[in-house]
Symmetry: C2
Subunit: 593 residues, 2 copies
Amino acid sequence: MIDYQAPLRDMRFVLYEVFDVAADWARWESLSELVDRETADAILEEGAKLVSKTLSPLYRTGDEQGCHWQDGKVTTPTGFKEAYQIYSEGGWTGLSGNPDFGGMGMPKALGAQFDEMSCGANLGFMLYPSLTSGAALAIDAHASEAIKSLYLPKMYSGEWAGTMCLTEPHAGTDLGIIRSKAVPADDGSYRVTGTKIFITGGEHDLSENIVHLVLAKLPDAPAGPKGISLFLVPKIQVNEDGSLSEANAVSCGSIEHKMGIKGASTCVMNFDGATGYLVGELNKGLNCMFTMMNYERLFVGIQGLGSAERSYQNALAYAKDRLQGRAATGAAQPEKEADSLMVHGDIRRILMNIKALNEGGRAFSTYVGQQLDKTKFGEDDERRKAAGLVALLTPVAKAFFTDMGLECCIAGQQVLGGHGYIAEWGQEQLVRDVRITQIYEGTNGIQSLDLLGRKIAANEGLFFRLFADEVRAFINNSENSEFVPALENALNQLEQATEQLLKQTADNPNTINAACVEYLHGFAYVAYGWMWAQMAEVAQAELQTGTNDNDFYKAKIATARYFYKRLLPRGSALLTAATSGVEELYGMSDEQF
Amino acid sequence: MIDYQAPLRDMRFVLYEVFDVAADWARWESLSELVDRETADAILEEGAKLVSKTLSPLYRTGDEQGCHWQDGKVTTPTGFKEAYQIYSEGGWTGLSGNPDFGGMGMPKALGAQFDEMSCGANLGFMLYPSLTSGAALAIDAHASEAIKSLYLPKMYSGEWAGTMCLTEPHAGTDLGIIRSKAVPADDGSYRVTGTKIFITGGEHDLSENIVHLVLAKLPDAPAGPKGISLFLVPKIQVNEDGSLSEANAVSCGSIEHKMGIKGASTCVMNFDGATGYLVGELNKGLNCMFTMMNYERLFVGIQGLGSAERSYQNALAYAKDRLQGRAATGAAQPEKEADSLMVHGDIRRILMNIKALNEGGRAFSTYVGQQLDKTKFGEDDERRKAAGLVALLTPVAKAFFTDMGLECCIAGQQVLGGHGYIAEWGQEQLVRDVRITQIYEGTNGIQSLDLLGRKIAANEGLFFRLFADEVRAFINNSENSEFVPALENALNQLEQATEQLLKQTADNPNTINAACVEYLHGFAYVAYGWMWAQMAEVAQAELQTGTNDNDFYKAKIATARYFYKRLLPRGSALLTAATSGVEELYGMSDEQF
């Protein structure tokens, strides 16, 4: 497997040329002191070095060795400890962290690029520091000042890692029925008891402490989701001066044997009256989780994108190198015993599919990142509108990036034929690794339900209108005659489908659950169509004004054409399916299945 | 993971009620002595016991332990040897073998059911005996009587296993460039030298001998595919009386570490002047392979189908058992803390997708099996027509069953959420195992090229017309007003797309390669539409005449409705994409990718 290279040129293209994020940064006072294009470019370049030189080479080792559990201790694969050290010392864990506590405070549009390259280079490794970043986000948003100043600096520096402890054996999607208990102690802390499963990084040998964020219920808490509270439970107790005290009553019972991301430990965690500290208000634990959820979900989506980019790089290198068969139009390399795979239409189709989906996805992740930044740094109207867009688009990004992530990893594997199936070339690991991204942080079915139920139906399409108006404004202002008519058609169909589903839901409450997955995909193709129209417009303008990067911009336009002709129609078929009614799903009894 | 159960009721439905294969058997003299419905049912029931009691329980063991190579010897997982013994003694290896040499001579329509259930129960295990059956088929068709009587009885009995040695490190799809050499010896045998890779069952500890069928070239052979010959190279040389002599110059250099089917050894085989015997004519090795190719390709397709059925059974059991969330229409099991997953629309959608694809696939595999039987047992017109249909439909079955096999295994995994990702529930193994079926025995890209290039364009649609005429005859004779109009539309679109592609190919030879994958899928949905219309018609008739199996037939009709509403439209979108031209695939230089 070749080592991963960050697609820096394309990242700069979406950041600066398509979405002009540097203008936002300059406009927002708190951010303008921290970052400009020059700083951001330096970060991207340092990031690119880190991921290709330190993370990417450990990709296969992580899978081959996996993690090992013995007597409650977990050993990570060879090299992870050293890489974690380098990663931590570079300050990457705190890249988007609060500067008041030692974070770098970088905007998400930039962070999204680093997320993509680091997850593309080594997803299994990246789960450790990224869980820490996520936990720190929740702590920063909801914990007391005392907790923040005690924990955040150590977490941003990577000295202490973090986890999220939500799932229990009987409760995954349905957190309302969790059984973990928290009993108040006299000193204001709590004694937390329960078993949590599927805890990524629940135990490992990378950091001197691990900070668990645990969902649990007080003995007298209301039933269901409204009785859940959030607790910070350190693996090793922490003195007031930040030094480590004695071990807490937290133990790792075992780790899972799983399909992929074997470099990441997936733990069963037992809390036996462990000392924990309330984060946020009592019984508002799920709300605290929701605060960070948009960041986390976008991040998990980007894991799919990064994996798909790696699949592209690997498959492309193989396709250029491997000689097999002859071009249908006659030998392209007559001096060799066969032509490269690149001459074959189906190979090009596979590569174009991946390329069009990845670049469309990169633009979309940057756009959503920019909206997240607006919710954080913007004011009033800008902030409110961005919040609606983020709420709407985050489940789309999470589910679609990861569904396409699997599609693209499988497609890349197919380019390699039998060599794609053996471990040597790394493609099969990409497939196994990326598969989890469709499942964790809310399965893609749950994302779809969130989109159509909570984000669209629950507010009668208010957020949806924000999005549709943005696309329509682009359509009305654009002078691009090549793509705009098709985009307008697609948007019209999406608007009609949305309206139709809202009506069908009124008649049959099962509609949302039955239609949501296909609807989300249909939605995403329209959103990507918008991204591609914008990118093509920028590329066209560059070519007209003269550029020394002709090949790059021409490839953009060629890929936009491919997307519009071969991929956008998928969306139309999906929306038709989504709106075709739910009767057929309930036409049989459970026993007839 | 629950143990696999053969879907016997549905197998009998397609065999006897939909395609009335027993009438064929009675009609064909050579077959009527061997099999009737009663015998076939007994075989199906014995097979079902074998697969659920002997093969299925070894499914996870095979994956967990995998195969081990040491000093050229390969050890298979615990229990494989005993299972192989039971399998062999039951005569299953020779199920479709030539009765003149100890085979059971069973028709393929029946064999297809056993293939499905055995591969559903344990794909990794099944590769050993099925490669033997495949090699025996080639030997039976092309080898001398002396070779046949020496080798076939021992292969049908499982005492000796078989392999196919085609791929070399630099030559997979493109066999024309293989480098293995065969030099004539004075005694009429050959000395075979070369390295073959990806050889399933190349070495193992299950049988006392292994019979390799090896593609190689004579020193003076013509270049390319027309210089390839086929040789039988035993691992241990065989005396004229069938007793074993000394070891041949064949060795296993290593085994591959791969994504799945870990119970099956995938070997690098070295032939160092090994003694081999010509099978068929010199330089006609590829033709000899083609003889058995339709059987093998259908069989590999059926591996996808069997895996998908197992995914369905596993996901369905989980969905019924797992309590999570509440029905959108109000609590379905108010006495429990949550409802079963079966109440959720998206879960039902996933299960209906799998069910509709599996049952459509089972009908199609039985239909193709029936056509294969016609080519073998039928006469004149019936035989010729069936040969055309088999040639046309085999690549469709291979590629579509396995592509849908992966889709259905992934979909089933998604039903289990996080539990689908860990090894415990077996779903992730299904995904890893089934993935190979899209790659080996000709990648699905190659199958698609075969369909559109060799089977359609090369004869200007002759075979295609055979198929379209069959579907149209059904449409014209059917009284089913519910499905026939949609089927007719779908057929019309397929006919138009086919015609259009033949024209586009004349203008641009890249068309076939660029359009073939989407075309094959579009074709398959129409074929499944035909299957479902036939099944619905039979079910409707049964319900009208009165039956004590109401639930079964009503479920058939409900599933047919689902297929027509939610899945058939996919075919239309695919055919539109397939015919949209190839310009976009060649709009960039290789460097711009």
